[in-house]
Structure formats: C-alpha cells, structure tokens
C-alpha cells in the first residue's frame, strides 16, 4: 500500500522530471517559452491540489480501489506531461521524427483515457465515507466513466485519422467535452440534492 509519504515522493520526482525536461526544451526552443512554462507549472499546481485534498481526507481513509485510482491518475498526469516534453526534447535534438511520435503518443494517451474511464464506475468508496446519497454518487460515477470512455475513443480516433495540424485540437476538444459534461452533471446533481435537502 502506498503511504502518504511515498505518494508525495512520487509526485516530487515527477515534478522534478517535468521541470528538467521543460528547462531543457526552453533552452533549445526559447520561442515556445509560454508552452514550457505552462507545462512546468502544471505539476506544482497538481501537487498543490492533491495536498489540499489530502488535508481534507488523508490517503489512508480511501478504499483500496479509490487509492489505486487516485494515485494512478496523478502518476499518469505526470507521465503524460513528462512524455510530451520528452518527445519535444528528442525531436529538437533530431533523435525522433516529431509527427509520428506525437501521433503514437496521442493514441497512447487516448487509450489510457479509455481504460481509466472504463474502471471509473468500479471505484467504490465505503458507504460510510460518502458525502452524498449513494445513488447520486453511483450515477455520477457511471456518467463519468461513459464520458471518459467516449471522449477517449474520440481522442484516439482524432490522432489516428486527422492530419497532425488538426488532430491535437480535435483530440483536446474530445477530452474537454468529457470533462465539461462530467462537471455539468456533477453540478446539476449537487444543485438538485441541495434543493431537495433545504427546507
């Protein structure tokens, strides 16, 4: 079982890796400084959010499947960033052909989104730890799972079919659509529950 400390060590290692790759890219391609800066800032932001969430509910209070999903998702986010920056770095050094590598990477990320969405409804927190009605939590989890699977399939299709210039934008739109749909559904469930419980 991953402890609180080892979890933070993993995030720290990923943050350093992303920062290192970002700095190397910045040095080689200073014209894309804004992109490198955003990439490098992402992991500290994720780390901050994780620290805030864990201060409200420690990792040890999560169920096994929840903990695996939570830690796996953070590690995945770090690896996506590191992978994307690594590809850019190797391309800048002339070691790889950027087009094909980006396409393969895009497909891999999409496949992971599908796999993540697929298992999402199986992540059950103990009933006593749930902060809303179990039926609503279940409904949102199923919706999120389907959204990420469909968004991930769209992401994969975009990288497989579209020209490189458009694949990135369309794939990102599929991913964003899934996130927005889940956020809207979650907001709607929260609003309905609050109205139902208010006198």
């Amino acid at each position: 079982m991953m402890t609180h400390r080892s979890f933070h060590l993993v995030i720290a290692a990923l943050t350093l890796l992303v920062a290192g790759l970002g700095a190397a890219n910045w040095y080689l391609k200073p014209e894309s400084a804004a992109a490198w800066a955003i990439g490098m800032a992402s992991m500290p932001v994720i780390w901050g959010i994780v620290t805030f969430l864990l201060s409200r509910r420690p990792l040890t209070e999560y169920g096994d499947s929840e903990r695996r999903f939570f830690t796996g998702s953070i590690a995945f986010a770090g690896l996506i960033l590191a992978g994307a920056m690594g590809i850019q770095l190797f391309a800048a050094l002339g070691e790889v052909e950027l087009g094909l590598t980006r396409r393969v990477w895009g497909v891999a990320v999409g496949v992971f989104l599908v796999l993540m969405g697929n298992v999402m409804p199986k992540i059950l927190s103990p009933l006593a730890a749930q902060r809303c009605a179990p039926s609503k939590a279940q409904s949102l989890q199923r919706f999120a799972g389907w959204s990420f699977v469909l968004g991930g399939l769209g992401y994969v299709a975009a990288w497989l079919i579209l020209p490189l210039g458009r694949a990135d934008t369309v794939a990102t739109l599929f991913c964003l659509a899934a996130v927005v749909a889940v956020a809207l559904r979650g907001g709607w469930i929260f609003t309905v529950s609050r109205n139902a419980s208010s006198p």
């Binding site: 409804p121 199986k122 279940q138 199923r142």
Partner: protein, 98 residues
C-alpha cells in the same frame, strides 16, 4: 471474463443489475422484486459478487448491494438485454448443491 459472461447470461441476474443501476439496495429489497426463494436469490448474488459486478457492504444488520460494473461490463449488460445473451449456465442452486 468468463465469470462476467456467465453472470450476465441469466435474466434474473441481469434484472438484479438493472435494479442496482437505480440505487444501492439491501438483499431484502432486491429479493422482493422476484418470485425466487431467498436461497436462490442468495446464490444469484454470490455469482454476481464473484464476477465482480456487485459489491456487498455490511451496514449495521443489513447487507447493501452496490453496482460495481466497468463501462465495458455495463455495455455488455445492455447488449445482453437487447440481444438476449443466452449462454447456457448452471442454475445457482445446482452450483451450490454440487
């Protein structure tokens, strides 16, 4: 995966999963929707648990059953419902007796 197909091959178990799509329920609430005896229903629940499609959690004196289906398994359930998956499976009471 074969345990999932086996679990989904039975209409009673599919109906249990559809009921659980609405909300988590205890064993009594679920059994009230069927004419089968309690031991038969209990055997159905066991098959579903072994396939990893539901999770049972004790809440005081009750056991609450919750859906634990991946998106793929959910899609398979929809497929089985639409096209009538009819893999020959042993009846739960046969399994428990053997």
């Amino acid at each position: 995966m074969s345990s999932v197909f086996k679990a989904l091959s039975d209409p009673t178990r599919r109906r249990v999963l559809e009921l659980l799509r609405g909300r988590p329920m205890n064993a009594g609430e679920l059994a009230d929707n069927f004419e089968s005896s309690k031991p038969t229903m209990s055997a159905h629940f066991t098959v579903l648990k072994e396939a990893g499609l539901v999770e049972a959690e004790r809440d005081g004196k009750q056991i609450i059953y919750r859906l634990k289906m991946s998106v793929l398994e959910d899609a398979l359930l929809g497929f089985a419902k639409t096209f009538g998956l009819s893999v020959h499976a042993k009846q739960p009471n046969e399994e428990t007796e053997s």
